[in-house]
Amino acid sequence: MWRKFDVAALRDAALAGLVAGALALPMLGFRLVDGVTGLTLAGHFDLVAWAVGLVFCGRLLIRLLPPLPALPALPARFGDLRLKAGWLLAGIALILPFLPFADRNLVDKATLVLIYIMLGWGLNIVVGLAGLLDLGFVAFYAVGAYSYALLSQTFGLSFWVCLPLAGLLSAGFGLALGFPVLRLRGDYLAIVTLGFGEIIRVILQNWQEVTGGPNGISGIERPSLFGLSFKAVAPEGQQSFAAFFGIDYSSEQRVIFLYFLILALALATNLFTLRIRRLPVGRAWEALREDEIACRSLGINPTTVKLSAFALGAMFAGFAGSFFATRQGFISPESFTFIESAVILAIVVLGGMGSQIGIVLAALLLVGLPEWFRELQQYRMLAFGGAMVLIMLWKPSGLLSHRAPTIRLGGNP
């Protein structure tokens, strides 16, 4: 059933077109052209007209089209289904590097997606469970990465020693951020956390003596597997992985090892979250998200509850950061810009706040797909934006927003 065409629809579409025009004019309308006489300004107003026209027609279509068909109602045993889907995805992830079509490129991309899944699961504790809108999550990721890089280069500590230390340091920063913002909620909290994220980045950029400033830190130590190195020639006193198992050296071994490392870290994050949701702390987080005043009237101290959420979320970001540093071998402040925070938050919101498997799907969609469509070059961001708009139209509360109770009468779920 088409909806009625009327003046209101037309006005709505015209307004959308106007906004698109205002945005497109500076971004598409003018272009600097490198000519013989130097830089000149060229107008591309046809592109602006296209943008306005497209948005106008699109908006009109959305107004007039019948409402998007609702997804079939989730079956009553959806919890079971979700559990099965979770195991299935974990199984696929486990055998992925050994599948016939898996090449180095695929494993690399999967590693990247897994980093974001882990970050999403970490942020989910703060945003999805405790309901504290955090726009500066990347700061803890940066703290983790720099902690590992600096500890390993200054004191020569191994990755496995640094990993928990980096997590602790990040959790400490989480507490440091948590204290001043305890009284803030919603938008105000978001702005302060945004500022915190930028402060960390600016410090990393300018504290030349320690962080190397914009040049970053390079030559970061790669991790070893129980003392087995993944280098072609093992360093003094170590044995290489290939030599130990008597196989030929290949650089792919390290890539696959890193993949399994992040898989293990991410699954540990997931297991922790699933478990803690059923414990008093986890339930207190969710209760705090629902109603802080009621929490206080029930004897729950909101200070400790909020701080524990900030600290634990930050800790997982710290682990992910350490992994990022060891995988790249090089870090600089450029990797920890606001857009990273935004992408992680988008993953959590899109997945359906609080849903673990929703985050996996959202990370695949937001990080995986753009990586795949790199050939589309600058248009992939356009596709990314379009996909976001579609999802918000279709499922405004996230891909999987269904929440299963953490305890049932007469047996745990």
Partner: protein
């Protein structure tokens, strides 16, 4: 857990409490006591300071003047010196809210389990024992579920235990909020307009429930209520406020006859010299 004090003992003493917001005296030099095993009702016209009083008792506001003493079995506690969440935990004062504050997206059972946070937190050693799946925590959780079950049965909500609290009908949400408050093992239960929005049948049900809490659980109840059928039927003691001041106190029958109360509710004639109308005020 210590037993609540015996019947009729003073449970809460409100002494000369004043709560000011700028120049407005929301509660002005108010004194009264609530006793255990009794239902004390606080009534008064809109804006009389009833909810402000509740917020002072439960620690959400700190009165500028006066003292709030709770006679805990382990010695008196001064509520105005405690933080709101400590009042629930240590002084064992629980409350409900005028506009229901349930954890809407959590299930009914989860709401009742969250209310037992303090006990579960201690049993789980700040969740560490729970994280490792130790018996100690599982036993504590089983006890918590049993207690929740007890209150679900009493509130006739057992069949809805796994539903989201926000999806329940209004009357059920009111009952759930009382159940949640009771799961904290209170000595004093403060109910802020528990009958608001209930139909007569639900209201009668509520009366029965509040009486059973008074008689079976032996705790003190303090309630704010507009519904006079509830107040007059179940209260043992009524305190009437107007503009933050206490204008009358006594048992329901006394309060109903008090001229000051009638004036506060129905207003005074414009000209005090005129003789009172022959009809009207007597009918209330």
């Amino acid at each position: 857990m210590s037993e609540p004090p015996a019947s009729g003992e003073a449970l809460l003493d409100v002494d000369h409490v004043t709560m000011r917001f700028g120049g407005l005296f929301a509660v002005n030099d108010l004194s009264f006591s609530a006793r255990s095993r009794q239902i004390t009702a606080v009534i008064g016209p809109n804006g009389a300071g009833k909810t402000t009083l509740f917020n002072c008792i439960t620690g959400f506001y700190k009165p500028q003047v006066g003292r709030l003493t709770l006679h805990h079995p382990q010695g008196p506690l001064l509520l105005e010196r405690l933080d709101d969440h400590v009042i629930s935990r240590r002084a064992r004062v629980a409350r409900t809210f005028q506009n229901i504050r349930l954890f809407a997206r959590m299930s009914v059972l989860e709401n009742l389990i969250v209310a037992q946070h303090t006990a579960l937190m201690a049993a789980s050693a700040f969740s560490l024992a729970g994280l490792l799946g130790l018996h100690r925590y599982r036993d504590a959780e089983r006890r918590a579920v049993a207690k929740a079950r007890h209150w679900l049965d009493r509130m006739a909500l057992t069949g809805l235990a796994d539903e989201a609290a926000g999806s329940l009908p209004y009357g059920h949400q009111r009952r759930l909020e009382i159940a949640r408050a009771m799961c904290t093992d209170p000595l004093l239960l403060c109910l802020d307009e528990p009958a608001a929005g209930l139909n007569p049948r639900e209201s009668a049900e509520l009366n029965r429930l509040l009486r059973s809490i008074r008689d079976q659980d032996g705790i003190g109840l303090l309630l704010i209520e507009h519904d006079m059928s509830v107040v007059m039927e179940i209260s043992d003691h009524v305190v009437v406020l107007d503009y933050g001041k206490k204008i009358a106190e006594g048992n329901p029958a006394e309060v109903k006859r008090d001229p000051a109360v009638i004036r506060a509710y129905l207003g005074e004639p414009d000209d005090a010299d005129l003789p009172p109308e022959p009809t009207g005020s007597a009918s209330c």
